[in-house]
């Protein structure tokens, strides 16, 4: 079977055109948002402003997403990486100095391999 090459050409990136398009899309989005805005007058009450979770009333501080939990699936996927790399960043000076020495050896070997 003979495959024919598909040529896409050199491509095109025009930052001014792209920026204009982005601004246009933003303007259209804003128009859509404006069209869909509330017509009736807002009538907030204490009861309406409360945050419910399974019948429990929560304070604003309690519903704030914990930054540690953000992207926790990525942390789980790269668990081995974090298990070995994070302990090196715990602020112990001797660990820092150890890695400086390791770095010097790596660089020395790499330069010797390239230039030697």
């Amino acid at each position: 079977m003979v495959y024919e090459p598909v040529l896409f050409g050199p491509g095109f990136w025009g930052p001014i055109v792209a920026t204009a398009a982005l601004l246009l899309i933003a303007a259209v989005t804003w128009l859509i948002l404006i069209c869909g805005r509330r017509i009736t007058k807002a009538q907030p009450s204490d009861q309406k402003m409360q945050t419910y979770a399974c019948g429990e009333v929560l304070e604003a501080e309690e519903v704030h997403a914990d930054s540690e939990q953000f992207f926790s699936p990525i942390r789980r996927v790269f668990k081995p990486f974090y298990r070995y790399v994070r302990p090196g960043h715990t602020g112990i000076l001797s660990t820092y100095l150890f890695w400086v020495v390791v770095g010097l050896i790596i660089i020395l070997v790499a330069i010797a391999v390239v230039l030697g």
Binding site: I74, H89, L115
Partner: protein, 498 residues
């Protein structure tokens, strides 16, 4: 060009630094409020004007050689300015000016500001000296001035965290500067000269095995300063503990000077373009590790510090590729990184100034209170993540294309994935700080003061300008790229008929 511009660019901040305590005493005696701040701003503005005055000559293809005491190189000390170090000087002076304006209000609640402005001007003098000197021992001396000032600036707040971070930074960095000094000594032993151009000429016929150790010492020494993995660990501690204005200066200017020193020594002095692949590889490791570590941070300053490490990786990758496009991309990214990293640290400073913390778990919903700051944060975050139409996209794109053209598509793929990770951790920061539920105690938080917003807005405008008009950025860094790739031109210009 202003007469004696090369030496004045170093002397103005140096003399201003030593005059600052006197100005402070005089201002208190006469009851002149803010006199020392205006004096410091005037000094950096003059320095910026001096650097700008050198642009036409250098961009016209000249190498400015300033002989101190009229001694001909290599016998006397000289300042040699080509496209590469002038770009660095421009970044240092520009960022220094903006951070100084920012400090005007940001530092007003601190005491001991005479010392702060003295150290600030001293670090500027050190950085300018490293950038402009044509002598390797002078480069080391100015590098030390820069480092010693930076240790003191990290510890400026004099609390437990800042003093601990400063001591750790001092010990690790001193090890690095000792490596540099040892490298200088070995080079002097090998070639009997300290002039960079003369050394480069004399090292040409020397066997490559003889330069392995000094070259490794220089790369490690400067690698510590730029926080190249695995020499990076001091950086998050130092940046987190330093006042945000200082962290902004470090991330924008000091890191740039570190990269410049490494490039000048490796490419011009040793002519070791071959080790570019090592820089590209270490750059990849640096960008990936920085991004993964940033992803799990709770403190915004620490997140930005890891982000700094990650962005340094991009610069090393671009420059390490060694092609014209790669070096252009790397230098363009160096320039862009100085812009948005300084801007992001200034925004953290603004948040700390208004709220008192940069812990993302204690923040939220601040968009309602700080809409301008929030918008500027979005600009910075999108720029650093390489999203069009901001400047980060232009420089990262150049590096991606350079990677493919250099026959290293894997490098480009890893860089692309890291860019996505960058966007991910900045979205996390945006959500944690500006979106979501606003804790009740943040109800009365006010917008960032105008004089602090001014430099941030200026930097945001630059993010847009260099994104929408990327050719402007490429034109800006082209003289630097040409200078980096034409070390023989530098050598002949400095040595002349010697």
């Amino acid at each position: 060009m202003i007469p004696h511009a090369p030496i004045l660019a170093i002397l103005i901040p140096l003399f201003a630094a030593f005059l600052m305590p006197v100005v402070g005493i005089f201002a208190r005696w006469k009851g002149l409020k803010r006199a020392r701040e205006w004096f410091a701003i005037a000094a950096v503005l003059v320095e910026f004007a001096i650097v700008v005055s050198m642009l036409p000559a250098v961009w016209g293809g000249q190498v400015l050689v300033y002989q101190l005491g009229g001694w001909q190189p290599p016998w006397g000390i000289n300042l040699a300015i080509d496209g590469l170090n002038l770009l660095v000087a421009l970044i240092v002076a520009g960022i220094g000016t903006l951070v100084m304006i920012y400090s005007f209000v940001y530092m007003e609640r601190d005491t001991g500001l005479d010392q702060y402005y003295t150290l600030f001007l001293l670090i500027l003098a050190g950085m300018m000296g490293v950038a402009l000197t044509g002598d390797i021992f002078n480069l080391y001396v100015f590098f030390e001035i820069m480092c010693i000032s930076s240790y003191a600036l990290v510890a400026f707040r004099r609390n437990w965290q800042s003093i601990e971070a400063s001591i750790k930074y001092m010990i690790v960095s001193s090890l690095g500067t000792s490596f540099i000094l040892l490298g200088v000594a070995l080079l002097y032993g090998l070639a009997g000269s300290l002039n960079i151009a003369d050394l480069a000429q004399k090292l040409g016929p020397v066997a490559s095995s003889a330069v392995i150790v000094p070259l490794a010492l220089f790369v490690t020494g400067f690698g510590i300063k730029i926080a190249m993995v695995p020499l990076h660990m001091w950086l998050p501690d130092a940046y987190q503990a330093a006042p945000s204005a200082v962290a902004a200066l470090f991330s924008g200017a000091t890191a740039t000077v570190g990269i410049y020193a490494m490039m000048r020594v490796v490419y011009t002095l040793f002519g070791a373009l071959a080790i570019g692949i090592m820089f590209a590889t270490l750059g990849l490791v640096t960008m990936v590790l920085g991004a993964f570590m940033a992803l799990v941070q709770r403190d915004l300053k620490r997140l930005l510090a890891y982000s700094c490490i990650s962005q340094i990786g991009y610069i090393l990758l671009g420059i390490g590729l060694g092609t014209t496009l790669g070096i252009q991309g790397g230098l363009f990214h160096l320039f862009n990184n100085a812009i948005y990293k300084t801007m992001l640290f200034m925004i953290v400073g603004a948040i700390i100034y208004r709220v008192g913390t940069s812990n993302m778990d204690e923040l939220g919903g601040l968009w309602k209170n700080m809409p301008v700051t929030g918008t500027l944060f979005v600009v910075g975050a999108l720029a650093i993540s390489g999203v069009p139409p901001f400047n980060g996209f232009a420089s990262k794109w150049t590096i991606y294309v350079a990677g493919i053209e250099a026959g290293q598509p894997v490098f480009t793929i890893i860089a692309l994935i890291t860019s996505a990770l960058t966007l991910a951790y900045f979205l996390k920061a945006l959500n944690s700080i500006f979106l979501g539920q606003r804790p009740a105690h943040l109800k009365d938080v006010k917008e960032t003061p105008r004089s602090m917003l001014l430099p941030i807005i200026l930097l945001a405008v630059l993010c847009v300008v260099f994104g929408v008009l990327p050719q402007l950025g490429i034109d800006l860094v082209r003289p630097a790229q040409e200078a980096l790739m034409n070390s023989s031109g530098y050598i002949s210009a400095v040595l002349g008929g010697a």
